[in-house]
Symmetry: C2
Subunit: 351 residues, 2 copies
DNA sequence: AATTAGCACTCTTGGTAGGTGAGTGCCAAT
DNA sequence: ATTGGCACTCACCTACCAAGAGTGCTAATT
């Protein structure tokens, strides 16, 4: 559909804007009469009707049935969000709430949960926050414990107090003492470095040491390689306030709800969506079917990545009906992401 | 209400049984005509009506409205379940499914998840399994890392490869070396003992050592005390197939669903309910309002504790509408609990 | 040429009325 | 004690009507 100036002059856009705002506000299809009063253009309903017919031809609005008003289509919402929206500054109380909730020098995992909860409570929709990527995180301590056969339990601590563990399989069988030694060696070598740095250093050291060093060190490096290779950063997110979504009449249909909640518990689709927004920075919006997932047909997703020191760590967002107050939600998500990023900044690395 | 023999003779009970079975089967209030045909008593509808009136007086059944049939009340279900039920043996295919799914010598955490999923899939309702209690679990290794100020990160491994961590606050500030020493001491002292044993040994040792031993050991014991005291076994459960519940018309009401799913995400009420069934062993059933939680008004919960070596570790159960096929669900839950217990048995503690 | 008033038309919504069928409670007959 | 008969209740379905909202089109107005 070509959006040329002839059809889409300022007046049409102004009316589209008013229509979308009005529909978002009270959820009823809006007709020419209402729109005529609501817009400040002083046009008669008849004129409005002509414009509306044009907008309908362009696929921006449509009628649920003959004698109802019009509601925005996905394209309509998209045009509105991209070009017509006048964002409102975030509510001061909300801001205070968020700052307060995320100010504590808390365990990052808790902060993610808190952020999600805050989002859902303040928007009355669902809040979602991905766990921070682990690449940009500092290795603090590593420890190996022998299991049966050739399996080793690796425990490592990052960023002050996050504990991770993983079972790896080695070719050789190591004794507890050997493992202890390896851990000591690796701790002295890599402790305090970022995981990314550790990974690259590992490869370099492995190559170098292949020639000269003693067997014990080589073994240690090999075990470390097994530990840090491959994606064990199990993508995951924290979702809150899902039940808020049950309140919206647009989503009240039983099958819809079931699909939606299934998607939430399967996680896969949601993760994929959030991953997409991870790449871009700034606020990203998926409106209705734009997401590509049937379960989210009637939903919009407003996300923003959050980052520490200009490195994107994860994504946070709001899931709600397409009919949501974008002008408030967008700045809200934006600000929350920034605050979360700031709160996660481990400046307070008291030794 | 007194259930004397005059009102509750065999015939009445027989009819109640048939009525409940019929209602469970097709969800419609059952009237005298149907009941007359369904029961093998060869009684006319009129007679049936008299009996039904008695049953209604006793509070065992009731009519949604004048010209509908009767449906069981909570007491009716209760009587049915306690005295009238003829349980069916578990379906062989289901049994195979469960055995297969839980046979693997898997990480216990995964097994809990699998069990929950299996329950929900095979019953088409929601499955819930609590995480195993940690008391009956063996300490393998403990480790302390200093954090800022007087905080210490405790990492301990139980049962081969389960890693737990906790932050504790001490009066004194310890150095890394001191903590290392303490950990070594505790490992040599307690490694291989059950947590329960460790707890009681700790108290005894503390009392004894208060008099004689050196400061370092005393410190170590104090730290250990902080570690193991108080409930850090954050009660939790794994829920699956919640969305199955959306399919039941009894629960389809929006507010009901919202309450129910809220209860699921708050977890508190569910945990409390499951805790209650933890005490008893064998299958426990909460029917409708018996649970005492409004959110579960229209639900029944069939649970059974699962145990290893006769020690109860946790609870597993099915959540569904009160109108569920108890005669199948009860043995199903029973068997699943037994299989889970067997699968969790760490007989394969290869050193 | 753009805007508007007027009008016929469509479609939802809500209310009323009537008919049907399932089921009951009660009474009198068996 | 059991049963057939009967009047009665109530949910449910349908049809129908009126009101109201909104539209598209056309002709008049600016």
């Amino acid at each position: 559909m070509s959006l040329n100036n002839q059809d889409l002059n300022d007046r049409s856009l102004q009316l589209l804007k008013t229509l979308v705002e009005r529909y978002i506000h009270d959820g009823q299809p809006v007709g020419s009469r209402i729109l005529s009063k609501d817009s400040e253009l002083n046009l008669s309903p008849a004129t409005i009707r002509n414009v509306m017919a044009d907008l309908e031809d362009l696929g921006l609005i449509h009628s649920p049935h003959t004698s109802a008003g019009r509601i925005p289509t996905v394209s309509g919402y998209r045009l509105f969000v991209d070009n017509l929206l006048t964002v409102k500054p975030i509510d001061k109380k909300d801001l205070a709430h968020i700052s307060l909730g995320l100010s504590e020098n808390d365990d990052p995992c808790n902060m993610i949960g808190t952020a999600s909860r805050l989002i859902s409570e303040l928007t009355n929709m669902a809040g979602v926050v991905t766990l921070p990527k682990r690449e940009l995180v500092y290795l603090r301590h590593i420890e190996f414990l022998p299991l049966s056969h050739n399996r080793i339990l690796v425990i490592f601590v990052t960023n002050e107090q996050e504990v991770h563990n993983k079972v790896i399989h080695t070719e050789k069988i190591f004794s507890a003492a050997e493992l202890q030694q390896a851990a000591n060696y690796l701790n002295s070598l890599y402790s305090g470095h970022s995981l990314a740095a550790v990974k690259s250093a590992l490869l370099k050291d492995l190559k170098k040491d292949q020639e000269l060093t003693n067997q014990a060190m080589l073994d240690a490096l090999k075990i470390a390689k097994l530990t840090f290779e491959s994606g064990h950063q199990k993508d995951d997110y924290v979702l809150s306030g899902e039940t808020n979504l049950m309140g919206f009449s647009e989503l009240a249909d039983r099958d819809h709800l079931k699909n939606l909640f299934n998607a939430f518990s399967q996680k896969r689709d949601v993760i994929h969506l959030l991953d997409q927004s991870m790449k871009a920075d700034g606020v990203q919006i998926f409106i209705g079917k734009e997401s590509g997932y049937q379960a989210f047909d009637q939903c919009s997703l407003v996300t923003s990545s959050y980052s520490v020191n200009d490195e994107i760590l994860g994504v946070l967002g709001v899931i709600g009906p397409t009919r949501m107050a974008y002008e408030k939600i967008i700045p809200f998500v934006d600000v929350t992401a920034k605050i979360l990023g700031a709160a996660l900044n481990p400046k307070t690395t008291t030794p």
